[in-house]
Homo-oligomer: 225 residues x 2
DNA sequence: CGTCCAGTTGACAGTATTCAATAGCGGTGG
DNA sequence: CCACCGCTATTGAATACTGTCAACTGGACG
């Protein structure tokens, strides 16, 4: 939990070479400053005042809730391009921690609100952001409520593969087994065993613990529905 | 699943005698028509075109997702005053069914969008609605991911008690055990056993299967955190 | 080369599910 | 009014899946 964050001025934001597409994310990014976080450092705490919203540039972030006795539920993982910390209320309802070394853009919430009030397009974009998060959360609800361990892991791997920049059949997981377990509502041992089992059935290969090759995507998809 | 819905013209909407509070819900309600649905009838199907949004006037509605093999996850129950069917996308991502006989106000989505585009206040209210739904869903995620059967049922009972119009320690559940099970990610038997156990430990009383008395709220709250 | 930590594997336990039978409740009709 | 029917809920017994506890492995790093 060594929070060693430093701030630097924002270089011209350019994630693509195309002439000014100005997506909502670009707009957000142009309003903030870049901050770096070490692995496992806390970006903000549960119940902390929600003064900023964040966009991931590199690395991964986990969004979590804790129960009194230490049980943890990871609501989602945020990868490059994802927005987090965006709240209606004045306080964060969960904490955010760096899964890996990561760079994020930090934008003052007040500035955003001010702009949104006379920029309907931005306001709509912010609403769309909330709506997208809701959709994702609702899908995850089905996973946690009704899927088996195998199905959860398969769903997770397919999701990560789809989100990965390569988009292919190879995924490099930025997070630990414990993180995956807390995301899927399982234990670290069950995640490990399930991955081993998927490897034995030739659905995946595990060249290393963090690298996953989806050998038989259709088998995984069969576990998804 | 006998869908016997009839439409009637909207009487002046008045849920309170106070002089025009004009909450977002009132605004919505004033734009639509009242429709009634029989118990277990479908209000809209998963993947159906999302042409309307709805506000519950009386009764209860369940919002569900289905898995290929019939497993069901109820995302939420909507009671009087709740809004449902509000989507960004053109299609519903879940189905809605009447838990009990119920009356709802049906509002054309297109009308709402049109109004929202030149009424920033309405736009903000709609965003707040989505945000509130997100908060609720995220809390439920923690329940499904990390809580035991006892804790899930206790959380559910406290939530229903808080939402019930009386607000007291007595709840009349509009939904069946199967509905509760599908909401909490459990089986009907586990729900039943857990309720019996809570009754044995004097945390609740069950005068009838649908009526619950919270005898020892602090015990229930202890199971909540 | 040894330490440390993450991950894997094994044996066992426990919670929740499954399958099955029984009980209770509400409505209908004789 | 009561018997019967259908449906919902409860209870029981056995099973299965996942969790718990513990030992071990393997890779990274100094």
């Amino acid at each position: 939990m060594t929070q060693k964050a430093y701030v630097q001025s924002l270089p011209p934001v350019q994630w693509s070479e195309e002439p000014a597409p100005r997506t909502p994310r670009d707009v957000l990014a142009s309003l903030g400053v870049v901050t770096s976080f070490d692995r496992n450092s806390e970006i903000f705490a549960e119940d902390a005042a929600a003064e900023h919203i964040f966009i991931v540039l590199t690395g991964a972030v986990r969004i979590c809730k804790l129960l009194g006795d230490g049980r943890r539920q990871i609501e989602t993982f945020c990868l490059a391009g994802d927005v987090f910390g965006w709240e209606t209320a004045a306080r964060h309802r969960f904490s955010a921690e760096a899964v890996s070394e990561c760079k994020v853009v930090r934008v003052k919430r007040a500035i955003l609100f001010a702009r949104a009030s006379d920029d309907p397009e931005l306001a709509h974009a912010l609403w769309a952001l909330t709506a997208a998060e809701l959709t994702r959360t609702q899908n995850h609800l089905l996973v946690l409520g009704r899927k088996t361990a195998q199905e959860r892991v398969a769903t997770f791997l397919l999701d990560m593969a789809q989100r990965s920049t390569t988009g292919g059949t190879e995924v490099t997981l930025p997070m630990s087994r414990q993180d995956i377990a807390d995301y899927l509502g399982l234990t670290i041992e069950t995640v490990s065993r399930t991955l081993t089992h998927l490897e034995e059935t030739a659905a995946i290969a595990l060249p290393s613990s963090r690298r996953v090759l989806l050998k038989d995507s259709s088998a995984l998809r069969g576990l998804n529905a």
